[in-house]
């Protein structure tokens, strides 16, 4: 398949650029920006769950941590370049710490889910209870339930007065997503990425081959957290306020739903899933006939029951069948449908 990689990448870039220029005429850039940010967040979980087999119920923890790190650092520094870096590094370090604790204890599946869920809850409860004036980091008050408003938003590096907002923020986010997409693509083509997929397929076999599964999972986990943290920092810039709601279980649930609906084991799926579901939610929010949560719930149940692989794999296999060039049946003996995915989907 190695010969088709170049072609796929060129196609991805062209599609991305066309979308980037054409979408603002359909949807306002303000809405588009948040869709792109959610796309990044979807990609982060898509990487660690779809390719690493690590089901993290607490991706929102890293998202929120990134947003809070950015807000606190931006208040203290009065500019945005270093806070952006911190917003990537802090969640990554936190994830590395958590990963060492979990993976070196050889926890798997449900237990991993419980621990990530519980850690998200701890953060949520902690941040929620920091309303008092004694909770201060530098000049930034954590503000408890009300969150932190009024921090310095994104500026051109070195020029604290030149803010990036509105349309410019949209293009920055779009470029960042494109960069992350190719970063993930590159990562998955390195031996590290290939072994990560191997670990997803059969952990014991890979560790018997002499690879340190625990260290590799930890690293992959913190890369995912770093991407989520970056998405969080962009989100903070977009909404101009960070609240404890970023850490909530509902947020974590949504990220998982995006990945399922879009398609696990693909890079494109979670982005599509995130953007389309978030837009659907936005549209549904404008009507009051049917409750929003109800529809999200129905979508998740229906996808788990009828389309457990998600949209992107289903559509791409449909295309393959109808154009018939490579209509070879895919490998038979995969362990579960949930974990199936190609490296270059």
């Amino acid at each position: 398949m190695s010969s088709s990689w170049g072609k796929q990448d060129v196609a991805a870039i062209i599609v991305a650029l066309v979308l980037m220029w054409s979408m603002p005429s359909l949807i306002s850039t303000y809405t588009l920006t948040v869709l792109i940010i959610y796309g990044m967040l979807g990609l982060s979980l898509g990487l660690i769950w779809g390719f690493g087999g690590i089901l993290c119920f607490g991706q929102a923890a890293f998202f929120g941590l990134g947003a809070y790190t950015y807000a606190i650092a931006a208040i203290n520094m009065g500019e945005s370049t270093i806070p952006m870096f911190l917003a990537v590094i802090v969640p990554a370090l936190f994830a590395a710490f958590l990963g060492v604790m979990m993976f070196y204890g050889r926890l798997t599946d449900v237990y991993l889910g419980v621990i990530t869920l519980v850690v998200t809850l701890i953060l949520f409860k902690f941040v929620n209870s920091t309303a008092g004036p004694q909770y201060v980091i530098g000049e930034a008050r954590l503000g408890g339930f009300n969150g932190i408003p009024g921090f310095h938003t994104l500026n051109i590096p070195g020029q604290p007065e030149a803010y990036i907002w509105g349309d410019a923020l949209y293009y920055v986010c779009a470029a960042a997503l494109l960069f992350l997409y190719f970063f993930v693509t590159w990562l998955l083509r390195t031996s590290f990425g290939r072994i990560a997929v191997g670990i997803r397929e059969n952990e014991t076999r890979v560790s018997l081959m002499g690879y340190d599964v625990r260290a590799r999972k930890t690293i992959l986990f913190s890369i995912g957290a770093a991407i989520a943290g970056l998405a969080g920092a962009f989100f903070a810039n977009w909404s101009e306020i960070v609240t404890p709601g970023l850490f909530s279980l509902g947020q974590s649930a949504e990220i998982i739903i995006w990945c399922i609906v879009g398609g696990l084991g693909t890079r494109f799926g979670p982005i599509i899933g995130a953007a389309s579901l978030a837009y659907l939610k936005f549209l549904l929010g404008q009507q009051s006939l049917i409750d929003n949560t109800l529809i999200t719930g129905i979508i998740l149940v229906l996808f788990v029951l009828f389309l457990p692989k998600g949209i992107v794999p289903a559509v791409s296999s449909l295309l393959k069948i109808s154009f018939g060039r490579r209509a070879i049946r895919k490998f038979g003996n995969r362990r579960t449908s949930r974990r199936v995915g190609k490296i270059n989907g």
């Binding site: 419980v114 902690f126 929620n128 409750d291 929003n292 109800l294």
Partner: protein, 288 residues
């Protein structure tokens, strides 16, 4: 002296309410290895069923102990037939599907009851111990929880039904070979689990203002209590809720309720790290 009595009651109350919250989830998880993330919403529906029944003029204890479990049990039955039946043996998929169901029920409740707080008054009045006021309803919760644990134990240990259930729990294929349909047993188990969730929600309903998203407050606690309890159903439930209840109350009285909750969660993480099979995976092996 008075204070220590109050603290003792509060500790027992914390343990009892944890056990009560987790019982429904434990039955479903222990028997069928299905993690029902809609558990919190089942409790929420139990609460709404109670409040609606009381408003229709039914006695509050009848509403709590009979009406709510039946209604939620039937809802659980429908859910099992329509969704969960197709996903047995796929742990992660059932978790996701039940998560979807939980969102569905939240939306449903919001549409029916509105996004406002509803509540009923506590049917048992409090009394004073020295300078402190104790909520009399706490004793009712402790009583129900103990009665529930004992009746579950008796049911599983001494009746033929319990024997079949335990057999299916251990080896469903052998149970099937002996002529008992696992499908039916799972169906009945899910009914019982949902009814227990409904019961828990109903009993806790007078203590909290009920909103459609109330379930979220319970699910995480129930989830970690069940997982930390490990494979043995009743022993696991009692030991983990005992541990978490004590830790929670010590930190609640020592520092603040928020720290109590956080201490519970931190202990849960540490416990899972040290004993990933749960408490009863290491101790009390082979007990019920």
């Amino acid at each position: 002296m008075d204070l220590s009595f109050v603290i003792l009651v509060e500790i027992f109350y914390a343990i009892a309410s944890l056990a009560l919250i987790s019982a429904g989830l434990a039955v479903v998880f222990g028997m069928m290895k299905v993690i029902n993330l809609a558990h919190g919403e089942f409790m929420m529906m139990g609460g709404y069923a109670t409040i609606t029944a009381v408003n229709l003029g039914i006695n509050v204890f009848v509403a709590m102990l009979i009406v709510a479990p039946l209604i939620v049990g039937v809802i659980g039955l429908v859910v099992e037939r329509l969704v969960i039946r197709h996903l047995y043996g796929r742990l992660v998929d059932t978790m996701l599907a039940t998560w979807g169901l939980s969102l569905f029920f939240i939306g449903m409740a919001t549409m029916i009851f509105g996004n406002t707080t509803t509540s009923i008054t506590t049917p048992i009045t409090g009394f004073a111990v020295g300078n402190y006021q104790i909520n009399g309803y706490n004793f009712f919760i402790i009583f129900v929880s103990v009665a529930l644990m004992i009746s579950m134990y008796v049911l599983l240990k001494t009746t033929r039904l319990g024997l079949i259930a335990r057999g299916t729990m251990q080896r469903s294929d052998i149970a099937a070979a002996l002529g008992y349909s696992p499908d039916r047993i799972y169906m009945a188990t899910f009914f019982c689990g949902s009814a227990l969730s409904g019961l828990a929600g109903a009993i806790l309903a007078p203590l909290v203002g009920l909103v459609p998203t109330s379930g979220g407050a319970y699910i995480a606690k129930a989830f970690i209590t069940v997982i930390a309890g490990g494979p043995s159903l009743i022993t696991g439930l009692i030991s983990s809720s005992g541990l978490f209840g004590v830790v929670n109350q010590i930190f609640t009285f020592g520092i603040s309720p928020v720290f109590g909750e956080m201490a519970l969660l931190v202990i849960a993480v540490l416990l899972l790290r040290l004993l990933p099979e749960g408490v009863t995976g290491k101790f009390f092996k082979g007990k019920m």
